[in-house]
């Protein structure tokens, strides 16, 4: 997933972004409300994690601006992450357009689970399992099994596979993959996506007449169970 974290504590940024990247997500970081809004205007995110007490522009104003339709991330799922814990403040945040609300201090596991739950909503799925033909992906345990055989993938390969699986049957462009898997701290080289797909194909294996990842020349890639073109 591509995630925007708007948080003015650099230490929390460090902890959360490191943990999320280790799980294979791309994370952009903003230290204040104005910067966060600028990122949201110019990029498409799956989830925005938003602090409320921010310098320059407070979190609720950022949220209202996102929902006003002036940003590329108008329909993005927003999780408010804040020290404000009263019922009134939670209600205000949710009514302003947030999808979830988590109070500091928090467990990273819980934050991750909530972000992933919001991410599943983005692709219209509810359960943690994804299936494409004989391939099964357990998104909670981050494990992949094909024809009963477990497949070990790197974090990046897993993230790529999960993204393609969530959009199974759709043609996904290289730019979409780049936007989704990479963030500003890890900008891909020109053929990084092609190499990642190639590596993933090799690991998914299967006989030559049962490929899962199909290339649509000039358009991108499709993940689905069908005969090779």
């Amino acid at each position: 997933m591509r995630i925007l974290l708007v948080e003015d504590s650099e230490r929390l940024q460090l902890a959360v972004s490191t943990g999320l990247r280790r799980e294979g997500h791309g994370v952009d970081l903003a230290l204040d409300g104005e910067e966060g809004l600028r990122y949201a205007r110019n990029n498409e995110y799956d989830v925005v994690v938003l602090d409320l007490m921010l310098p320059r522009l407070d979190g609720l104003t950022v949220l209202r601006e996102i929902r006003s339709g002036k940003t590329l991330s108008k329909d993005v799922h927003v999780l408010i992450l804040t020290a404000r814990d009263t019922v009134e403040e939670r209600v205000e945040g949710l009514r302003a357009g947030a999808d979830d609300y988590l109070v500091k201090p928090f467990s990273f596991d819980e934050l991750l689970a909530r972000i992933e739950a919001l991410g599943r909503r983005s692709y219209g799925t509810r359960g943690p399992d994804l299936a494409v033909g004989d391939l099964t992906i357990d998104t909670a345990g981050k494990t992949v099994v094909r024809s009963g055989r477990r497949i070990d993938l790197s974090t990046r390969e897993y993230a790529l596979l999960e993204y393609l699986a969530r959009r199974k049957g759709e043609t996904v462009s290289r730019i979409e993959i780049e936007d989704h898997l990479y963030d500003e701290s890890s900008l891909p080289t020109s053929n990084a996506v092609d190499r990642a797909v190639c590596s993933l194909r090799a690991k998914l294996g299967g006989s030559e007449d049962q490929p899962l990842i199909h290339t649509r020349r000039g358009l991108g890639y499709v993940l689905e169970a069908r005969e090779a073109e």
């Binding site: 003015d8 504590s9 650099e10 230490r11 929390l12 460090l14 902890a15 959360v16 490191t18 943990g19 280790r22 204040d32 007490m53 921010l54 310098p55 407070d58 020290a83 500091k104 201090p105 928090f106 467990s107 990273f108 596991d109």
Partner: protein, 332 residues
Amino acid sequence: MSSLALRMASLGAGLSLAVGSASAAVLGLGAPLWLALLVALAAGALVFGLTFLAARRGLRPLEGIAMRLAAVDEESLARRLPVGDLPTELRDLAQQANALFDRLDAAFERERRTTSNIAHELRTPIAELRGLTEVAIRLGDDPEFLTKAVEEAYSIAVEMDRIATTLLRVARAQAGQLEVRRQDLEADEQLRAAVESVDELAQRRGITLLADDLEQITVSADPDLLDLILVNLLTNAAQHAPDGDHVRSSVRRTERGVEFRIENTNVGLTATDMPHLTETFWKKKDQARKDPVHTGLGLALVDQLSQTCGLRFSMTLVDDRVRATVVVPNPT
């Protein structure tokens, strides 16, 4: 049996007659006077009874006040005595009691906000500490992140130590446990030294500290506590001034005494914010805490130290400037 009865009877009759005759002889009273005495006694009893009833009725409002006072606890400090229904003589008493409730209510509310502010302020460093250590444990095999997490955890511990130490100082000042050792000081030198000690922090923020109006005046004050006050005020100004601002400080003699002033450009404070500035960890709703040096306790400490030292401290808005003033009063 009959002789005994007769003696008894005659004894009784004799006694009766003897007493009657003795009273009449000694007092010289006739039957109408007896009657007058009885009437007087009855009238006295009646007056006493009526006075008692009147006094009781008159005291009833006092009883009401006593009952209301007895029912007051920290949850019902917002209630007030109904002054309008009381007799004139009791209104002043009730108004004074209501004024006391106003002060108590404000003090309790301030205390509640302080507790809430402290808890709230500790949330961010605790969240940072928890996040860093949890992710470090989770990663396990990342020595680079582990080292960084330990370094940050150490910095957080230092910051929390600073907060705890300052809170303790405020509490000691409140409890009157700080010893004040007054001596003659050069006020301008005192201010100049405080400016120098805050200068590095100010420069990091692009703030210029100016000590441009310093009269050579001798004051009687505790040098350490006055230094703590001035350093905290300068630090507060340097942290809240807008980027590139000039923080001006001065010391001069006025009618009230020797006056220290520290001013910076106002960013967002309104008149209604001013009474809250000396509360521990108070900040405006949309104001973020990100400067680790900023504990949110500086002005609370200055307020308490000023009271302890007998100085007059105030924060005011003057046009587009925020002005902190500390006055060492003229000796009386």
